[in-house]
């Protein structure tokens, strides 16, 4: 006889009181949620990551630490939009007007009868529920109180930057963004900051033919925080989609990306670097779950994920490339690597290829290893102290993923932060 597990009270979905187009999308999400359930410990898709903290009724308490550190993209010329604990901060945000793009807050336009976002909000998220359901994203579509709707019609001259500050240890934030690029449009979206003690965010991205979407994200330095993020993208003919995420610290991070390559000759690159130290009570658990579907001819996709782990940290990678029968000439590449700095840490990888076309190149690799002792001795024999030598090798290991960021100045910013993270642990 099966014994029922005692359950924590689960997340209750509160649909914000709105009218207009958004209410319909939210009611629809709530109805979909009724036919599925929140992720549980026995879900295959959550085999390596315990979802409890993400699905329980209230956010696990955070422990905000004020670091004396300049926020990452401070020196970058950008249009800045600030959220504190998931709440829009008008005072610290820039004016939302910028040439080639219309930027609106979800909460400002949710009540309208008609809005362009109704063709996107919850739409790609719904498509992304097959073949694997992603209930936390459905919750987000139903319940997100705010978010940014970005309608890109031209080549935008500077990045649009979402800054997520975190102040309250009981904050439980949910944001839902939509980014729509018209034919030939270009934009870079930056995201940085820990956002909240618990953060659930969705970004839906529609990239039309010949449009180009760049995305660089960092998830803040706070140790005690939980996050579930989803990106749902569909990209058109000769379009480009590039996304990079850097995560240092964090109790639990689950980053999911669902990318549908729908137009011929398109390119989708997604990469990530995670640096985790599992010491202290909060630990470190970082999960990248990626699903790329090729449904067009002559497209290229790359997944490059690297994690450096120490003191009992856990890294997870679940990455899939699905090549549909007509997606000939697909070039798919996937690499996931864990570098374990001690015997206590672990890297769990589940790379998957599912290919129905016969004229494709798909390669994938996954490795898990320690610092190369030969290389370490070589550096030390030249006078480089052990700690610095190890850090050099760690950065060298991460370089392939960081090199996925096209902008050199941003690459340098990211590398600086990683160097600092390593140096703090050497002291």
């Amino acid at each position: 006889m099966a014994v029922a597990e005692p359950k924590n009270a689960q997340l209750a979905v509160q649909v914000p009181v709105t009218g207009g187009w958004s209410l319909k999308a939210r009611e629809d999400a709530k109805a979909r949620l009724a036919t599925t359930s929140l992720p549980g410990r026995r879900d295959e898709y959550w085999k390596y990551t315990r979802p409890d903290a993400l699905t329980q009724a209230t956010a696990p308490e955070g422990d905000f630490v004020a670091y004396e550190e300049t926020p990452l993209f401070t020196g970058v010329d950008r249009l800045k939009i600030v959220f504190v604990d998931g709440v829009f901060d008008a005072e610290r945000s820039d004016d939302l007007s910028l040439e080639g793009v219309t930027i609106e807050r979800l909460s400002d336009v949710a009540d309208k009868d008609i809005h362009w976002a109704q063709g996107l909000y919850g739409v790609l998220e719904t498509r992304g529920q097959t073949p694997v359901s992603r209930p936390l994203a459905i919750v987000n579509t139903a319940a997100a109180s705010d978010g940014i709707l970005v309608n890109v019609t031209g080549k935008v001259s500077k990045p649009v930057s979402f800054v997520y500050d975190y102040k309250s240890d009981s904050s439980d934030a949910m944001l839902h963004h939509c980014v729509k690029l018209s034919e030939g449009a270009e934009i870079t979206i930056l995201e940085n900051g820990p956002a909240a003690a618990r953060f659930n965010t969705v970004m839906e991205i529609e990239v039309a033919d010949r449009a180009s979407f760049h995305h660089i994200r960092t998830q803040g330095r706070q140790h005690i925080r939980h996050a579930a993020t989803h990106m749902f993208a569909r990209i058109g003919t000769e379009s480009q989609f590039r996304s990079f995420t850097m995560t240092v610290n964090g109790t639990l991070t689950r980053n999911e990306a669902v990318i549908e390559v729908a137009g011929d000759d398109a390119l989708a690159h997604i990469a990530g670097v995670a640096a985790g130290d599992g010491s202290n009570a909060q630990g470190f658990h970082h999960d990248d779950t990626v699903f790329i579907t090729h449904d067009a001819v002559n497209c290229e996709s790359r997944q490059v994920f690297k994690k450096v782990l120490r003191n009992g940290a856990t890294g997870v990678f679940q990455g899939k490339i699905l090549v549909k029968p007509d997606a000939q000439k697909t070039d798919g590449y996937q690499i996931s690597q864990g570098l374990l700095l001690d015997d206590d840490s672990q890297f769990l990888a589940k790379p998957e290829l599912e290919i129905y076309a016969d004229d494709v190149i798909c390669s994938h690799g996954s490795t898990c290893g320690a610092i190369d002792e030969e290389a370490l001795f070589y550096l030390r024999s030249r006078g480089v102290p052990k700690g610095e030598a190890q850090d050099l090798l760690v950065l060298a290991f991460l370089a392939e993923a960081i090199d996925e960021v096209a902008d050199e100045s941003i690459r340098d910013l990211l590398t600086e932060r990683l160097e600092a993270w390593l140096a703090r642990r050497r002291a």
Binding site: A375, F377, L379, R380, R382, V384, A399
Partner: protein, 251 residues
């Protein structure tokens, strides 16, 4: 300069004894060569002196300028002026050769309490030295030793030596894997560094390298000991007759 007394060392893994009482005294400004058959312990001696993990010193001592080095970390030995040119230089993907050189030079300067070299000063020096070793700008930019030919790797070792200016240089079979022209180039690089304040310990199988780097003293090593010491003529004897006679004499 370097004084090795009754040095015994074994493999940490299985306790196999490799060095069985090495005695060697190397004066300042001199070049000593060590020759010997395979498995005689030549490379092990270079590793034990440079501080590689995996070996345990069970007896004896090694001093650099009167100070014991065997208790020092590898990087401390380097900062004290010891340099090992590797038989098989290690490839390090992801670390630029220039970054590596600069980090090494500045780490040593820092350890000795000297100011670090500025990027501009460093670049000037490294370019000049690279040129004489026919190391082009591309090799400086590429990751350390990655995709380098055998000759390029050995030249890169000599470039590191030239930049670090050690006082005690150990060359572990630097001639292995080199064609005649590459060997000449490497030897010229070494000869350019010969100086009254700098000593060399040249480990090799062949007399040929010693035609280019002329030793003051030649040691023959066998079974973990120095079994014979003589002048340059000893190397010629080995070249002509092999090790058999010497080994027979020793036995």
């Amino acid at each position: 300069m370097l004084e090795i007394k009754n040095l015994h060392a074994e493999l940490e893994d299985d306790g196999k004894q490799i060095l069985k009482g090495v005695d060697l005294t190397l004066e300042s400004g001199k070049v000593h060569a060590i020759m010997g058959p395979n498995g005689s312990g030549k490379s092990t001696l270079s590793y034990v002196l440079s501080g590689r993990a995996g070996y345990k010193v069970t007896e004896g001592s090694a001093e650099l300028d009167g100070a014991d080095i065997l208790d020092l970390e590898a990087e401390e030995r380097a900062a004290a002026g010891l340099f090992l040119a590797f038989q098989y230089p290690v490839e390090i993907p992801g670390v630029g050769n220039m970054t590596f050189l600069r980090t090494a030079v500045n780490s040593q300067r820092k350890a000795r309490g000297e100011d670090e070299l500025s990027a501009a000063d460093f670049l000037k020096v490294v370019r000049a030295k690279a040129k004489t070793l026919k190391i082009n700008a591309d090799m400086l930019k590429r990751p350390v030793n990655v995709g380098f030919s055998g000759g390029e790797k050995k030249r890169n070792e000599i470039l590191q030596m030239a930049m670090l200016e050690p006082k005690m240089c150990i060359l572990d079979e630097t001639d292995s894997g080199l064609d005649v022209d590459a060997m000449k180039l490497v030897a010229e690089g070494v000869n350019a560094l010969r100086d009254a304040g700098r000593s060399f310990l040249v480990i090799t199988h062949y007399q040929r390298l010693l035609d280019h780097i002329k030793p003051d003293v030649v040691h023959i090593m066998a079974d973990g000991r120095i079994i014979k010491t003589g002048g340059p003529e000893l190397a010629l004897e080995v070249e002509n007759n092999g090790y058999a006679d010497l080994l027979a004499e020793y036995a």
